[in-house]
């Protein structure tokens, strides 16, 4: 199990680096798809099956398709400007390292102590569905409203305004 974990983790990180580092937007999009897939696998390993599938459907299936659509429609040329100066990359990297340097020990300290709970929670569609429609029904409806708004917004924004 841990071997699988490290493998998937590796894929995940490589694809993440790929997203950030690749010069061509399409490549980074594909890397992101790979990343999302590996996250889905992670979910599956954590018994969150419903989430894994939903992750694939929502992220890989819908969002990335949109991204690819946009990329292809706008036929983004390669990043013609030179990559940002060394200073900015260095600085950002430094910031990232600092963040890690602080965050990782913090996580270690705060969560290592908590014992692994006995209940082996199963993220199956049934359990999640049951919980979703009983306890979290209000947020669920709110989410649907949000999506409605997003759709209307997207249409309004992207609709080509024909000169009257």
């Amino acid at each position: 199990m841990t071997a699988l974990f490290f493998l998937v983790a590796l894929v995940l990180l490589i694809s993440a680096v790929g997203v950030v580092a690749s010069r061509n937007a399409i490549h980074s999009a594909l890397f992101l798809v790979g990343n999302l897939m590996s996250v889905a696998v992670m979910f599956a390993m954590l018994n969150a099956h419903f989430l894994a599938v939903v992750q694939v459907i929502v992220y890989a299936g819908a969002i990335m398709v949109l991204v690819l659509f946009v990329l292809m429609l706008l036929n983004i040329k390669l990043e013609n400007q030179p990559a940002l100066g060394k200073l900015v990359i260095g600085l950002a990297g430094l910031g990232g390292l600092a963040f890690l340097w602080m965050m990782v020990p913090l996580l270690q300290r705060s969560f290592a102590a908590i014992p692994q709970s006995a209940v082996d929670v199963q993220g199956s569609v049934r359990e999640v569905g049951k919980l979703l429609y009983t306890q979290y029904v209000f947020p669920f409806e709110a989410a649907s409203l949000l999506i409605m708004a997003a759709v209307v917004g997207a249409v309004m924004l992207a609709k080509r305004r024909y000169r009257a």
Partner: protein, 100 residues
């Protein structure tokens, strides 16, 4: 059973990459993708912690994060398209009219 700290460290790494990506990259869509990356990192830690704690709330949270991410993607990309239509390029550095 893989200890939870591994997952958290992994998500932290991913999150950092996301942030660095956002700060470094010039192309709006790549920035958008990096944000998706960060969101995924958060989802991962959610699920890991929900397993640690033993109830499904974490997973419900991830569900809603995905909903929001989807909505955000729709609107974000619409913006990028309208941006492209006006600024003829998706480089964030070109869209700096709101300065001064």
């Amino acid at each position: 059973m893989v200890p939870v700290t591994y997952y958290l460290t992994l998500s932290a790494l991913m999150f950092t990459l996301g942030i660095v990506g956002v700060v470094i990259r010039r192309n709006a869509i790549v920035v958008f993708m990096c944000i998706e990356l960060m969101l995924n990192a958060v989802n991962l830690s959610f699920v890991a912690l929900s397993r640690l704690v033993g109830n499904l709330d974490g997973q419900i949270a991830v569900f809603f994060v995905m909903v929001v991410a989807a909505a955000e993607a729709a609107v974000g990309l619409a913006i990028i398209i309208s941006l492209f239509r006006s600024a003829k390029s998706v480089e964030t550095s070109d869209a700096n009219q709101l300065n001064g």
